[in-house]
Symmetry: C2
Subunit: 355 residues, 2 copies
Amino acid sequence: MNEKIEALREKLKSLNMQGMIITNPVNIRYLTNINAEGVLLLTRRENVYITDGRYMETVRKTLTIDDEIIVYDFRELSKEDYENFFIFCENVGFEEANLTYAKYKEYMHKYKINNFEETEGLLEKMRIVKKEDEIECIKQACAITDKCFEHLKDFIKVGMTEKEIAFEIEKFFLANGADGLAFDTIVASGINSSMPHAIPTDKKIENGDPITIDMGCRYNGYCSDMTRTVFVGHVPHYMRPVYDLVLKNQLRVLEELKEGNNIKLISKSVDSDFKLNGANMIHSLGHGVGLDIHEYPFMNSKSDFILKENMVITDEPGIYITGRYGVRIEDTVLVNKYESKSLTMSDKEYVVVGV
Amino acid sequence: MNEKIEALREKLKSLNMQGMIITNPVNIRYLTNINAEGVLLLTRRENVYITDGRYMETVRKTLTIDDEIIVYDFRELSKEDYENFFIFCENVGFEEANLTYAKYKEYMHKYKINNFEETEGLLEKMRIVKKEDEIECIKQACAITDKCFEHLKDFIKVGMTEKEIAFEIEKFFLANGADGLAFDTIVASGINSSMPHAIPTDKKIENGDPITIDMGCRYNGYCSDMTRTVFVGHVPHYMRPVYDLVLKNQLRVLEELKEGNNIKLISKSVDSDFKLNGANMIHSLGHGVGLDIHEYPFMNSKSDFILKENMVITDEPGIYITGRYGVRIEDTVLVNKYESKSLTMSDKEYVVVGV
């Protein structure tokens, strides 16, 4: 049987669950490679994927015999079929953070489930430590992202709009082997950079602007995530201390992202250093990256969590001065036993563009 | 106060609900124009939007005083603040089709809600009949889509890959004023066209291929949706009867999409005509289009629903011969009192490309 499903079955057994309904499409992709709309059932006897007519052919092409997954078009299934899937199951797990309240009620009734049990991120937790082939995909996504940044250094010119730059990034990703964007690209210039989540506008790039570019692509579903604040023409003197403070902390965090360290303590150290310098961290310091752009673990000063080898996490401190400017520097980082390894490798010293 | 929120408050009153928690980001955008991550509360006294630091500035820029919405960063709110929002409310509504089971439990506890009541698509139903400014946005998105199709007629050449064509569509949309894609573009050539939801591949376009192109863009958040099956070089004789049958039904449905008609009956008539000719409808005949690419109403032979003026719905019959080819023809259609109006207007007679 499919290795990941086998591991999941072991965990279910230890939780005294005899079955599970998996509805989160990302978890289904993780377990099966299926990239479609449907529901995965682990019953006592078998693994079942229920989809609709539109996806039957794609799904059949994705699965191999080794997966041991039976595929149904939901139109083929009767009321009795649904009721039989979990007939001898005492407890059936579900994904409470994905299943809506409406579907929760519908499924309990449709599958005649006695005890429908929360699984508390069981699959999301399995996904935290990446397998070799997953790390390979993230590396590829990061390499395309670095290549894109190199391209942008020459591409960005005074007079272009933020939207034009964002569009160029998307084009570059697609033309260089990515599946697409990992998230909506941020290109925030001048005072727009003071908004950590700005949407690209028609504002034209001006000499003296900082530009915060937060971008990432997907390779085989896996994400990259990188941010750089670059400078147009020259580095304004008033921004240097802020940039240096962000970079100092970003590098210090990078050093700490290794097995055995607690991300709560790492976050607190940044909070303290920022406060000492009159600044504040207004978003979290980082997050896991994988098939989701934001996944476990979430790095902030409340998150008591010990790092392990082969986790992939972002390191992204930022400072935002409302109505003026902002700086964020972010890498996607692989946690190793004795050191961290940044998978995005673009320049982090002052990068001046548009000259 | 904001007109749409006022209308929603009236509906809540009639349902004996004194408050509501709105979590569906599309519904929040519909009511407020806010395009961010957060939760909208309608309490007895006020309208409250709770977001996080990253979005504060964008949200404040979007809202006007007339909206009468108070914005909080969730970090500013204490346990007591949360408990006070719905303090004198007997019943508080929530969006059971959007709120996850985990959040349902969390919110009930955090807001100390006595009766947390399902609202059964209250907002989604408000969105079915479009307002003038919404129709204007959909028209713009459709116009960009038509323009793109005109461009593709010249652009597509033998030897190109499906992915290249999909990429060109995305580029064209962005360069012509769209916010982005309304959904992942389908470009399915040759036997790939037999899969209604094919993902673009590296397959090269060959002479004699049919190509099914299903594409749509967003304008100010509002979607367009159009499909055409075009032919490379010539129209294979064996495909003509299938194409003609799909087109005949598409045109007949188009005529029926007017106020007072029942979409169940419209769907059944296509089912019958297909069956008479040895074919099957394996997906639904259409769906509402607006801020979501798929929204109410869903047009199939089980959906008992009467059309009204200013609804926008797709008309998309299709026939798929497994392992051989497929044909789908789809328009985005505005329902009027006495007639329908197709908002996408590209050619539907045999379109031959690549010559």
